[in-house]
């Protein structure tokens, strides 16, 4: 067990190093920071001096070590565009994205899992068929169109909900939250629905496929043969085996939530990290792009690590194999 955790930890460190290397290459080979920072009026001597001062003449490896070391200490450098420290920029926008993502994930799971189970148990029913056609359309409608539709319906036509920004926020330490005001919650509804709907279709399809597979396994057949009541077969025997992979689903979905939060934040002008990333692409703000990449990769790695560990904790079969 300890060996397994150690192995996964070492793997994660290597993945992070690889991503840091990628981000650093981006930083080094794409565009020239000196020409970004200085104007035409700066003399060549001044430019050369600045280059030397910033350590840009050092060997590649030395620069990479310094880059990684600075990152580890929380120093992410400065944005080309706004000249602000990137760490502070990202930190101020992190709560918005996380709150949006978590609420969307909850929506996708709370609706998606029951719907998946239902359609797996009654695959030929009318309700199941309509749900399945619904998910096909859901997969085909791009996130931004769902956003526009919701804005049009609830924002413009009915006028019930705000369509941009975070509404009233409360500052708790460095965390600016919109979860503590009614206005903030109202602002959160449309973006999180937009983000959640797409994930919802994925959750549902995965749970459905898994449940159908479990229902075909031998232990379920044996339970049927023993005369175990249907209710018990479905909700105790089958469901517990179905829900183990759901942890992986949550892990996988996190990636989707982060990626599509870029789109959602753009549609709703939600001041999160995705919007920042999009701005940095438009203005070729390489430092912000590369730091965003590292931060996102860090989230991915941590979530994947947690998923693997939870798996061992929950699925007894893995523990048995480990000790055998």
């Amino acid at each position: 067990m300890a060996g397994f955790i150690l192995k996964r930890l070492v793997q994660s460190v290597f993945v992070m190093l690889a991503v840091a290397f990628l981000a650093f290459s981006l930083f080094t080979f794409v565009g020239d920071p000196i020409s970004q920072m200085t104007g035409v009026e700066t003399s060549l001597q001044d430019q050369a001096r600045l280059r030397e001062e910033l350590g840009l003449n050092d060997p590649f490896v030395v620069q990479f070590m310094r880059f990684t070391g600075d990152m580890l200490q929380g120093d992410f450098g400065y944005s080309f565009r706004t000249r602000e420290p990137i760490g502070a920029m990202l930190l101020s926008r992190l709560p918005a994205t996380l709150e949006l993502g978590v609420v969307a994930l909850v929506i996708s799971l709370v609706v998606g899992i029951p719907a998946g189970i239902y359609t797996a148990l009654r695959p030929r029913g009318l309700v199941s068929q309509s749900i399945l056609i619904g998910t096909l359309i859901g997969v085909s409608i791009p996130t931004f169109v769902i956003g526009i539709l919701l804005i049009f319906l609830f924002g413009v036509q009915l006028g019930w909900l705000p369509t941009f920004g975070r509404g009233g926020t409360v500052q708790i330490g460095w965390w600016r939250s919109s979860l503590f005001t009614g206005d903030g919650w109202r602002s959160l509804v449309l973006p999180s629905l937009t983000l959640g709907l797409f994930q919802l279709t994925l959750t549902m399809r995965l749970v459905r496929a898994q449940m159908m597979e479990v229902m075909r396994t031998d232990h379920i057949r044996f339970a049927i043969a023993r005369g175990v009541p249907w209710r018990s077969i479905r909700y105790r025997h089958a469901l517990s085996n179905t829900l183990i992979p759901v942890i992986t689903i949550i892990g996988l979905q996190f990636g989707g939530v982060i990626a599509f939060s870029i789109v959602t934040e753009s549609v709703f002008q939600w001041p999160g990290m995705g919007l920042l990333f999009l701005e940095s692409i438009r203005f070729v703000d390489i430092p912000v792009m590369s730091v965003y990449l590292v931060v996102i990769a860090f989230f991915f790695v941590v979530i994947n690590l947690l998923v693997d560990l939870l798996y061992v904790a929950i699925d007894p079969r893995l523990r048995v194999r480990e000790s055998a």
């Binding site: 794409v30 565009g31 791009p142 999009l278 692409i281």
Partner: protein, 306 residues
């Protein structure tokens, strides 16, 4: 009455029979064919050329579609604020969207199938490297990959050159985020096929690995690849539309469907609904139709799931 022509065999095949019994597949096929034909022949069937500034005038601006009050018979689907015919813009936009998606899908197909076949056939270190890259790629959502590639290309290429290469950059960005599916399927199929007698026989006859891969194995895995190609075409259309909507895709002077929707967003609050909703509906119908076809093909090639 025995007929042996290829056409006759096709007509009597299982696929055609199932197709004729599936209303959703027929509808989807009709919609797809109509849209593809419209896009293909846009320069000949569109009433005006939306790229030609002389072909429209500001006086015709913001006219609603024919069936609405104040519609003008010259403009079937109305006009935008510049007086551009919406139908023409949409046909040309679909032409651009579809050609980018098809090109991206083709690049992804060639790249993915090539790598997947090689990885599956040779195994060993090549397989490990290709699959490791595929894993990393799979962990990164396609939209993120595409955005990153676009961002990097902006940094590397001078501004003017980047604007000229917009279409190529977007195509490449989409292709690089979609090749993994092809590679994984090709590889998995090769693992199965490699141990079959016909492949073993070909190896023993001393045929060249390339010949075995492309002449013997590839024709036998066309089915699953076709399914992925269809589904990926839909994803490619969505990706392009999303990138253009986010404003990092194609420029406004050569609008694709996504760009048209982005422009239409400005009219969300005003009464000119057609500028936003007609391209949106068009895009959704196109993607739904292609996905339905993909679903049909998947059922056809996986009889177990039927």
């Amino acid at each position: 009455m025995p007929e042996t022509g290829k056409m006759a065999r096709l007509v009597r095949s299982e696929g055609v029979w199932l197709f004729s019994r599936s209303p959703s597949a027929i509808l989807a096929a009709i919609a797809t064919v109509l849209i593809v034909l419209g896009a293909l022949f846009a320069p000949w069937i569109a009433p005006t050329n939306p790229y030609d500034l002389a072909s429209f005038s500001l006086f015709d601006g913001l006219l609603p579609p024919v069936w609405a009050d104040g519609g003008d018979a010259r403009f079937l689907l109305g006009t935008d604020d510049q007086g551009r015919d919406m139908l023409s813009s949409i046909l040309y936009g679909a032409r651009l969207s579809l050609s980018i998606a098809a090109m991206a899908m083709a690049v992804a197909l060639v790249l993915g199938v090539g790598l997947g076949l090689a990885a599956g056939y040779f195994g060993g270190r090549l397989d490990a490297i290709v699959m490791r890259i595929a894993d990393v790629q799979l962990a990164l959502p396609a939209i993120l990959t595409a955005l990153l590639i676009d961002g990097i290309s902006r940094g590397i290429l001078p501004r003017a050159l980047h604007d000229d290469l917009r279409v190529a950059v977007i195509t490449l960005a989409i292709a690089l985020s979609l090749w993994v599916n092809f590679a994984r399927t090709a590889r998995a199929s090769v693992f199965v096929e490699r141990n079959k007698d016909y492949v073993q026989a070909a190896i023993m006859m001393g045929q060249h690995p390339l010949r075995i891969m492309f002449r013997h194995i590839l024709p036998n895995i066309v089915g699953p690849l076709l399914v992925i190609a269809t589904v990926d075409l839909a994803s490619a259309i969505l990706l392009e539309a999303t990138l253009s909507f986010l404003g990092v895709g194609l420029p406004a002077n050569a609008p694709s469907l996504g760009t048209l929707i982005r422009i239409g967003m400005q009219y969300l609050l005003s009464g000119e609904w057609w500028i936003l909703w007609i391209p949106t509906v068009f895009l959704v119908v196109l993607v739904v139709a292609i996905n339905l076809l993909g679903d049909f093909l998947r059922d056809l090639f996986n009889p177990g799931m039927r």
